[in-house]
């Protein structure tokens, strides 16, 4: 028996992709294996670790808990879409480098997307608010202190970026 597939259009990082996927295909697998956007990582496949977090219409979502077919028609941003248009690192990416906010880098894309949405909502977080922002993501390497620092630094860079653009 051949599995029925659905032809869908996925808008990812401003680019439209076509894919034929079974109804049960997870968005995380579609991004990684159908579209080749392997920056989104799967750490638990049950929605707890946050490694697979992508932005769906700007909101952080666990792509391992979402079917690819249900993402059709929405604007998806993955870690590959966080760099600035000129290719330079975006503020959250830059902050993670500066603050040593990553070690193995596997959970990092989920943190980067989560924080991107977080500082869009709260551009000037206190340290406690920064901690809250990443409290749903697991990292096994860093011990988190530098990730919290990176959140504050990213917010600072994003704010100065806005100022600088003026």
């Amino acid at each position: 028996m051949t599995e029925q597939t659905h032809q869908i259009r996925l808008h990812v990082n401003g680019v439209e992709h076509e894919a034929a996927v079974p109804a049960r295909r997870l968005l995380s697998d579609a991004l990684r294996h159908d579209l080749g956007l392997t920056g989104t990582h799967v750490g638990c496949e049950h929605g707890v670790c946050g490694a697979c977090t992508v932005l769906v219409d700007g909101q952080p979502m666990r792509s391992c808990l979402m079917f690819a077919v249900s993402a059709a028609g929405h604007e998806i941003t993955t870690v590959e879409g966080l760099a600035r248009p000129d290719g330079e690192l975006g503020p959250v990416q830059q902050a993670f480098r500066e603050c040593h906010g990553l070690q193995c880098g596997f959970c990092t894309p989920g943190f980067l997307t989560t924080i991107t949405a977080g500082i869009a909502e709260n551009p000037d977080p206190t340290e406690d608010e920064a901690r809250d922002m990443v409290a749903g993501n697991l990292c096994r390497c860093t011990g988190y202190q530098n990730i919290v620092k990176a959140v504050c630094r990213a917010a600072e860079l994003a704010r100065s970026g806005e100022d600088g653009a003026a």
């Binding site: 599995e3 920056g39 480098r97 990553l102 990092t108 901690r131 993501n137 096994r140």
Partner: protein, 796 residues
């Protein structure tokens, strides 16, 4: 003058790729691969009566299904027992696919290869296995009682009984003015890297070669295992370790069944095949660690000096012993920490249970050893009414006593001989960091607010940089860029950065011009692996030595070209010059000159062609020379280096809920000279988080039948940002190791070792009741309160 890179907080070169999402982890390679899935035993102990796979091949998209019957030759034999030991009298290993019997929930039974993982999992569900259930042995108590056996031919469930001693501990204890007995227990936990295991293999019939990508801590280990099991020459197998999403020990090789089955499938099917473990599989089929029970007898004098120490312990190694006795040997030796007991005797039993195998998890047996020794120190202090730090100080090895021989044999078969350290200075630093001397004031102030606080201290020594060796190859290109390869792997430690710092310093080149490759057997086929905090010591030293060789050659050629004496030359920013003159030549040009050419491929290579260089009366390449500007060397230490550290933690235990809050965490750390303080600090942060997990949260909840009840991130608790200290006070002490050219010691595991010991001490100090088992949850602490105050409850 080039800035010295060693000791500088250099930002990591790895990070640009990783934050852009362009890293390559094993599941990211070979998008065209077929996907493998493994049928795993649902029972902890059972005989396999029959396996029916008939329904599977009818499923559209399935390419193959194999059980043990389909394996041939060495693949059909048990997996290797990787580290044999004379006392491991009853070692047992599993088969790549189970033969006749399964011994833990999760043991591999059949392999399906299909178009994608979804179809492969559909197919697994169609395999019918008939089992005859056998009684499961779960936990140390059940294993010791031996009412049931894991393996019929292993009496008492004992795989090994090992003992070591230095002096007559029993006599020393009998003669001591004071004695104590303690029973101490640590539960099972697991590494849980965010990326699970994974393997991709591709067979190239044109070259008769196998290429394997695997998420491992040892590419050369996987290569040797695959070659041995598939009947291939080493030269036919390339193993490449791409970016690895954390290891912490679990990605050490034994090898895993999938690391052999995936290459076999690729060879048989002529297609690339990929296995990517899911999280539930990781819980039930990748290794755990930590579970041990210990009985301590100690004799001591009025100052708290240990005169005799006798430790008997039982180690739960799970269903098989592929990695030998490494974990309990480490506990039995490293529990001595920075102390010198008058006499010491240790004996352990390594026991079979019907649970997942045990191999080293970050710290590897040391957290248990540290817990045992530090609980003993606290008990002695309590018994004598002495300050806990003073009792430790009374037992320290003194700075003028190094090298200090503990009179035991370590995990690497070498003497347990400490190379360097300064424990009294370290104690002063940690006391200052945590404000030890004023803690009673803090306690009183908190008590006035109705709050209960406690302070704990734990000291450890960590044998790091175990041999046998690592190697490195340094190649200076004609562009002046330097390509360096070392065989061990990287799983997030920042090797590309730290090793480039070492090369930049030794060669006098710009840090940005150095590129490091790790874990690729094509580039460096001789290597051991990344575990036991050995990468910086072993590969760092080898890279330093290889760079030195490349530099020697560069200077020799430059001296000829510049008509100068080698001793008058220096290299700065990749340019060799005669000191104090304008005479200079770039390293890239020296690389051109190092390779006599017939053809001018580009402008630069014209300089090295036959009518331009050399003495026509001599061969272009001298008899004792070779073309190219390269250096290769190996580093092999006489024995391990011994890093050390002390952690102190202040906790508040909630008077009503028994919740345990971390108020302060302090670390003093000595890993010799620091290559990159930023990276070392990151390693400490991560280690402390895992120590917090081990002390307060992580445990493997097996039921009596051997089912793991918490095999998901919903149920197995690891620290989030909300569970770790908001800041960690860190101070360093640098006692350089005399055993390697850089004076360094390993730093990877230190942070996790004293976690359970320090928290147990702090909770005990807050609660004034003995803490003898870790981890400890609020409900367990609450129960302990009730158990220790029954009369108080009755009198209410």
């Amino acid at each position: 003058m080039t800035t010295k890179m060693m000791g500088a907080k250099v930002q990591r070169v790895e990070d640009d790729r990783l934050v852009r999402g362009t890293g390559r982890y094993v599941d990211d390679v070979a998008p065209d691969a077929l996907h493998a899935a493994v049928l795993r035993s649902p029972h902890a102990h059972a005989r396999i009566v029959s396996i029916d796979v008939d329904a599977v091949l009818d499923i559209d998209g399935v390419h193959a299904v194999w059980t043990h019957e389909d394996l041939e030759g060495a693949m059909a034999d048990p997996l290797p027992l990787l580290i044999p030991h004379p006392t491991l009298t009853h070692g047992r290993t599993q088969y790549a696919l189970a033969k006749d019997e399964v011994n833990y929930v999760g043991e591999a039974i059949a392999l399906v290869v299909a178009e994608d993982r979804y179809v492969a999992e559909d197919a697994l569900a169609q395999i019918v296995v008939e089992y005859e259930l056998l009684p499961a042995v779960v936990g140390i108590e059940a294993a010791r009682s031996a009412a049931n056996l894991v393996h019929d031919d292993v009496p008492g469930n004992v795989a090994a009984r090992m003992e070591q001693s230095n002096g007559d501990a029993a006599a020393a204890i009998a003669a001591a003015p004071h004695t104590l007995s303690l029973d101490l227990k640590i539960e099972r936990s697991a590494c849980m890297p965010m990326e699970g295991r994974g393997t991709v293999a591709r067979w190239d019939p044109d070259q008769n070669r196998l290429q394997v990508w695997t998420s491992t801590q040892t590419s050369t280990g996987v290569r040797a295992a695959v070659a041995a099991k598939l009947g291939l020459d080493l030269g036919q197998v390339d193993v490449i370790t791409p970016d690895v999403g954390g290891g912490f020990g679990v990605k050490i090789v034994h090898p895993w069944p999938e690391e052999l089955l995936v290459p076999l499938a690729a060879q048989r099917l002529g297609r690339a095949v990929k296995f990517t473990e899911d999280r539930r599989e990781h819980f039930i089929s990748s290794a755990h660690e930590r579970a041990q029970e210990h009985h301590v007898e100690v004799g001591f004098d009025d100052e708290g000096r240990v005169l005799g120490l006798d430790v008997r312990f039982w180690h739960d190694h799970g269903a098989y012993t592929p990695y030998g006795l490494i974990v309990p040997i480490i506990t039995s030796t490293q529990l001595l920490g920075p102390y010198k007991p008058g006499a010491y005797h240790v004996q352990f039993d390594s026991l079979y249970t019907n649970t997942v195998i045990v191999t080293p998890y970050r710290g590897a047996g040391r957290p248990q050893g540290c817990f045992v020794m530090e609980r003993t120190m606290d008990a002695i202090a309590a018994e004598l009414g002495l300050d806990r730090a003073d009792v430790r100080a009374a037992n320290f090895i003194q700075p003028d006593e190094f090298p200090y021989d503990q009179g035991l044999i370590f995990q690497d078969g070498r003497e347990l001989k400490y190379d360097s350290g300064d424990y009294p200075a370290m104690l002063d630093k940690i006391k200052e960091l945590v404000d030890w001397d004023h803690f009673e004031d803090f306690r009183s102030a908190k008590a006035a607010e109705g709050k209960r606080v406690g302070l704990g201290l734990a000291c450890y020594v960590e044998g790091t940089g175990v041999g046998p060796y690592e190697g490195a190859h340094v190649h200076i290109e004609t562009s002046g860029k330097v390509k360096v390869a070392t065989g061990l792997t990287s799983q997030g430690q920042g090797h590309q950065t730290a090793f480039a710092q070492i090369v930049a310093d030794e060669l006098g080149v710009r840090f940005e011009d150095v590129e490091i490759t790790t874990g690729d057997t094509r580039r460096m086929p001789y290597a051991v692996g990344t575990f036991a905090s050995r990468a910086a010591v072993m590969s760092g030293s080898a890279i330093h030595l290889a760079a030195k060789r490349a530099k020697e050659k560069a200077l020799r050629i430059a001296a000829d070209a510049l008509e100068a004496d080698v001793d008058d030359l220096e290299i700065v920013d990749g340019v060799v010059s005669v000191k104090g003159t304008d005479s200079s030549i770039p390293l890239g040009t020296i690389a051109v000159l190092s390779n006599p050419l017939r053809y001018a491929f580009d402008e630069a290579s014209k300089a090295a062609t036959q009518f331009n260089v050399g003495d026509p009366t001599k061969p272009p390449v001298a008899e004792d020379d070779e073309p190219g500007l390269e250096g290769k060397d190996f580093y092999s230490p006489p024995r391990s280096t011994f890093a050390s550290g002390m952690h102190a933690v202040i906790v508040e235990t909630d008077v009503e809920t028994a919740e345990i809050r971390i108020l302060k965490y302090a670390v003093v750390h000595d890993c010799g000279h620091l290559i990159n303080p930023m990276i070392v600090e990151g390693q400490i942060h991560g280690g402390v988080a895992q120590g917090v997990g081990g002390a307060l949260y992580e445990r493997m909840a097996y039921d009596e039948s051997g089912q793991l009840l918490n095999a998901s991130f919903m149920d197995f608790l690891m620290p989030y940002v909300t569970e770790v200290p908001t800041s960690i006070e860190i101070d360093h002490l640098e006692t350089p190791s005399p055993l390697n050219p850089l004076g360094i010691k390993g730093a990877g595991e230190a942070g996790v070792i004293p976690g359970s010991a320090a928290f147990a001490a702090a909770i005990e100090d807050a609660e004034r009741l003995p803490i003898t088992a870790m981890p400890i949850s609020p409900s367990e602490l609450f129960a302990l309160r009730l158990a220790h105050a029954p009369h108080a409850e009755e009198s209410k």
